[in-house]
Symmetry: C2
Subunit: 344 residues, 2 copies
DNA sequence: TTGAAAGCGCTAACAG
DNA sequence: CTGTTAGCGCTTTCAA
């Protein structure tokens, strides 16, 4: 068979120049621009190897003909996908919901950093069927409230560069980015001390790594003043879980005068329970939340909360996978945290 | 040169079988399983063309050797990427924020539906640099508060199947999925009427298509009772914009007795302003929000709001791009909406 | 500064 | 039911 290249889906003669609207390849552009395919390739990548004039002409032609670069072909050749998979736990149920700015700002930061450096962001929940696509990724970012041990090991098994968002102290062998949960806890403790509170409680399930760190920081700072916080059992992450926990707590410990909740949701539930039991906030009980969500900020009363910058966190996560993908080493990192004092 | 295939990065002889941990291709698996590459290909796709026994053996070998399917190669061959780009407006700033469940639940629904049907979800904000990746997608879903005219036309120019989330009535020529904003507005109006309110106002910038639809439904239902709502100017989407608008409104129209806000954020700002001016909610002024966010639901007082199911919406968006990608036709669709009555 | 040749890993189209 | 052949569109040598 002759090696002649036939044009696809046009009725024009074999040797005709391609016309705009065709499905074009670099070879087609090359023909139009009077150069070779490889020169087109180089020109389109702004390679210094190609004459500035030629480069301009090639780009011009590409533009004019509406050329669309074929990512798959490049990926196949280069043996990399220029893609980072972001694994999020997106339970469709309201239980254990991840609403609020948490994942969205994180995603925003990740996307911003990755897309401006040539990578694609592949969103997945690692449920059925997504495996081949995720496996194709050059790197993986794991989001989600920590309980992702299984996913983590799964990803690790096929040896992809991986970065995790979560509790830094809980995963020695991973590269993890997280907010400075211990410091966040300590900030809450210090504020309670400054306010003269002596009977504080912590709200949150320490089985969750980040919450455990918050409790450590909280209890540690308190210990320096000879105080040990109450730690009632909290079933989940929801507003109602917070309310229930506080009802139970007040039953057993009516004299509690400060509540540090591991999330704003929990804090809001706590305030509701407090008010239902006739406690005033903040006169009788001080409350501090975590995450500094809009929900907390616009609540009545506006919630005092520990702030973390999720967008920066996303950017950092993205940078770290990139570093890993490029074969260099990185380490875990902890992001600064500060207390936003509002009315509670 | 002999056509012999040499093994990559192993020191073993050319003819040796591949060992686990190698970078494997279907040809390698084929050698191990004693079949041809195409049979491996078929077996891995569960093709009925291949003997069940052979299929099982091939899958077994693939599993055992940790074979990773090369998506790029398939995509190149098949001339499709099995990828859908989701274009979100993710401004890193707090202005015009899209927090709340809005985009996340939508993304959740989309991801769920798409990944379980073999597609990947490419997340992008259509800022600099992301174009080649988005162009490679087989289809596009456009999210974001409607103002996306430019992005829409951009996408349309390169002729990709596209589905938009937004105001159905505003884009005749597009396939758009949106909640039934008119009905939502009407529901609010009907409740105000039932409560005996006669001097309602609408809060929201009608330049935003979805808001305009909500106003249409609201004003239409009101008109049947001979009532015309106030429509004060509302600068943006934020809590403080809502508060400012209401302050100005009360200045000019102290006798307002009902407020329908185009979003929960706006509604919360409105309530704040109302209280600052000594109005009681809901005794003096009824307030209804839109979106039924957790923020509104847990607010004090808990906000009455028009609910829309974003997860379902995401699933529907995903189904529609798939339909389009597969060459069939679809139409725009409107999702049901209902009023969640709470305290306001 | 430009080009020719070769091949990345997969699958559709034909045989057998 | 299984295999052979060819080529998707790109880029990395190597040569001019």
């Amino acid at each position: 068979m002759p090696p002649a290249k036939r044009k696809r889906r046009t009725g024009t003669a074999t040797t005709a120049l391609p016309s705009p609207g065709d499905h074009l390849t670099m070879a087609d552009l090359a023909k139009v621009a009077g150069v070779s395919a490889i020169t087109v390739s180089r020109a389109l990548r702004d390679s210094p190897l190609v004459n500035a004039e030629t480069r301009a002409r090639v780009r011009e032609v590409a533009q004019q003909y509406g050329y669309a670069f074929n990512v798959s072909a490049r990926n196949l050749k280069l043996r990399r996908s220029m893609t980072v998979a972001v694994v999020v736990e997106m339970k469709p149920t309201v239980e254990r919901q991840m609403s609020g700015p948490y994942p969205l700002d994180l995603l925003g930061g990740i996307t911003q950093e990755l897309t401006t450096t040539g990578y694609s962001v592949l969103l997945t929940s690692l449920q059925g069927g997504s495996l081949p696509n995720v496996q194709a990724a050059d790197g993986v970012i794991l989001l989600g409230q920590g309980a992702h041990e299984d996913a983590m090991h799964e990803v690790q098994r096929w040896g992809r560069p991986m970065v995790v968002w979560g509790a830094v102290s809980r995963h020695e062998s991973q590269v993890v980015v997280g907010s400075d949960n211990r410091r966040g806890g300590a900030l809450a403790a210090e504020r309670f001390i400054a306010l003269g509170r002596r009977r504080p409680a912590f709200l949150g399930d320490p089985a969750h790594g980040e919450f455990a760190e918050r409790l450590e920081g909280f209890a540690g700072a308190l210990a320096r003043h000879g105080i040990t916080p109450q730690t009632p059992t909290v079933a989940s992450f929801t507003v109602s879980a917070g309310a229930e926990a506080v009802h139970a707590l007040l039953e057993a410990n009516p004299q509690v005068d400060a509540l540090f909740a591991a999330s704003d949701l929990l804090a809001i539930g706590a305030i509701r329970a407090l008010i239902e039991r006739g406690r005033r906030v903040p006169e009788d009980v001080s409350v501090i939340g975590y995450d500094d969500t809009p929900l907390g900020a616009t609540y009545v009363p506006p919630l005092t909360s520990v702030h973390q910058n999720f967008i920066d966190a996303g950017v950092l996560l993205a940078r770290k996978v990139r570093t890993l993908i490029e074969g260099e080493a990185t380490t875990s990192e902890t992001l600064p945290t500060h207390l936003v004092v509002r009315a509670t």
